[in-house]
Symmetry: C2
């Protein structure tokens, strides 16, 4: 048996289990020019929510009744390809299937001895690259500046904040539980953390945590939190608009504080960041992230859920902030 | 007698005549190291509204009971300075006074034979530089792209749209009267113009005028018009946030469509533009603007009001869109 997860309905608002359907199909049979892959780790990410809508975006929407895809680590079980051998681990955008065939296009090998396999979906994968390139290409923090990160305990935010610390900045994280805030300041070296759910007055909390104002805002959430940061930006501030998880499930276009007066008054920049636009810089970025990781300058958090059948729920749980760091699903029988 | 206009009250909402006070004072007497200037043309600009608030901004607020200042063309009537002679015309940030003394710092001479003196407050002055540098530094239009300009019949917008045409773009202007729209398409070469007050459905009008979507949005107004443009931006769109006249008189922070989802989805950029940040590029920009003007590639519109006593009303009228092109006050007795 070979299970696959297809998009049954385009979610209306918050995604539900019934939007996903588990389908059984034949295990693929090895063909010429192909290899067979066994799924080991599946990445679930907030941006996938956008692909579940039938709307214009930077990637095509998922098709109904077809398997969903995301970042996956898989192991080669059989191969007719010279570049890939049985036992190799590969990373790529693959389907939510236990087994699948591939011609190897767009996949690359990863080394489980250098780092845990799951790290290639997180700190050494798309989310790490997003944190590094979003910050270095748009945020461009200078030593001594104040950097605020929202969704700071998430896969991207937790790495972005640490990189800003490496770059010599004062770093303030915003997250949704005391436990996450504790992780930010105790384990990841953030200078301050704000629990937006309990702080009462988020604007006041940001003002207190950022006595010199905000030079760089690495935004993963949008909504009220971003409004509160906006009013504290400094001249020439840079806002990396990396995600807007607070609005992904809304069924009508949300309203926020008008950004224009703040942008004009401060000659400030706000730019949408999509990591794939910067593919040419992946090798260099990966080298830097690997080096920091080896030197112990960079830590990472993961929330690993086990079982192929848990993939939809792990995805849904992202919108309740149930993850600390990267949310990854480990497929049973893997190590 | 020497009249001066001081800020009597910080306007609450829309500025009123009673926020300004005419004061009589002695004509200045020539001192060593100074010259005496007679005001000829006064520039009134929407950004001055921000300086009337007691709020953090890119320039210090005006002080109460002190003369307001803006861009002024004045003539030297007496001089103890080697660089300036009687009869010279100068441009600079000067006070709203009929006569004032100056040490010459920050002033530069303008040539009334090369262009009408008022042009140095508009197309060859700050608003022309704003249009050119805002577009070239942030908008960066490429030939064949679609550029939308709001406040298109204003001092900055009318020049920005023409420059985008020179750069080979499809240019759509948004303005508030049919007469202004007619000027945009008939006199200034815009491809299309939308009267936002009568169009009924601004989003539909923009969609119709921009069948290929919007690549560059040169925004002078903010508010609902900007929301309507935002939903039509293309991948890698650039939004020049040059002004937000629709919100300058609001007494509470306005709400708009959340920009974050649109910026992320389109890898789009939005940046506040303040012309003084680009002072190093003024000479080059001025050369280009002068050349286009001489070649007849660039036209300009002016609304010239006469009389020193008309300065406050001319300023107030900006917020009703009573100007076509640059609003300038000519002081009686000048030519």
């Amino acid at each position: 048996m070979n299970r696959s997860i297809v998009l049954k309905n385009r979610p209306k608002g918050r995604p539900r289990q019934t939007d996903f359907l588990f389908v059984s199909e034949e295990k693929p049979v090895l063909q010429a020019g192909e290899m067979i892959l066994k799924t080991k780790y599946v990445s679930v990410d907030p941006y996938l929510r956008g692909r579940m809508n039938d709307a214009k975006s930077y990637v095509a929407p998922f098709e109904l009744d077809k398997a969903i895809s995301s970042g996956v680590i898989a192991q080669v079980t059989e191969s007719n390809l010279a570049e890939f051998s049985m036992g190799d681990y590969v990373y790529g955008m693959l389907e939510w299937k236990e087994y699948q065939s591939s011609r190897g296009i767009g996949l690359h090998k990863v080394d489980g001895d250098k780092a845990p396999l799951s790290a290639y979906l997180g700190v050494l994968g798309m989310t790490g690259l997003t944190a590094y390139l979003g910050l270095s290409e748009i945020g461009r923090p200078k030593s001594g500046e104040t950097v605020v990160v929202s969704g700071a305990a998430g896969a991207v935010g937790s790495v972005a904040g640490q990189i800003a610390k490496i770059m010599g900045c004062r770093v303030v994280g915003i997250a949704g539980t005391d436990e996450k805030c504790e992780m930010l300041t105790s384990d990841l070296g953030f200078d301050a953390a704000i629990n937006y759910k309990t702080t009462g007055n988020i604007r006041k909390a940001i003002a207190t945590a950022c006595p010199q104002g905000v030079d760089v805002y690495f935004d993963n959430v949008g909504g009220d939190i971003s409004d509160a940061v906006l009013v504290k930006i400094n001249q020439f501030a840079r806002i990396v608009v990396c995600g807007a998880i607070s609005v992904y499930n809304l069924t009508s276009l949300p309203q926020s504080l008008s950004v224009q007066p703040f942008l004009v008054r401060n000659s400030a920049l706000m730019q949408g960041f999509i990591v794939n636009d910067y593919a040419a810089k992946f090798p260099e970025a990966m080298q830097i992230l690997t080096k920091w990781l080896e030197e112990g300058k960079l830590n990472y958090a993961e929330t690993i859920v086990e079982g192929f059948d848990q993939i939809p729920q792990a995805f849904i749980d992202l919108f309740d902030g149930k993850n600390k760091g990267k949310m990854v699903v480990k497929i049973a029988g893997t190590q």
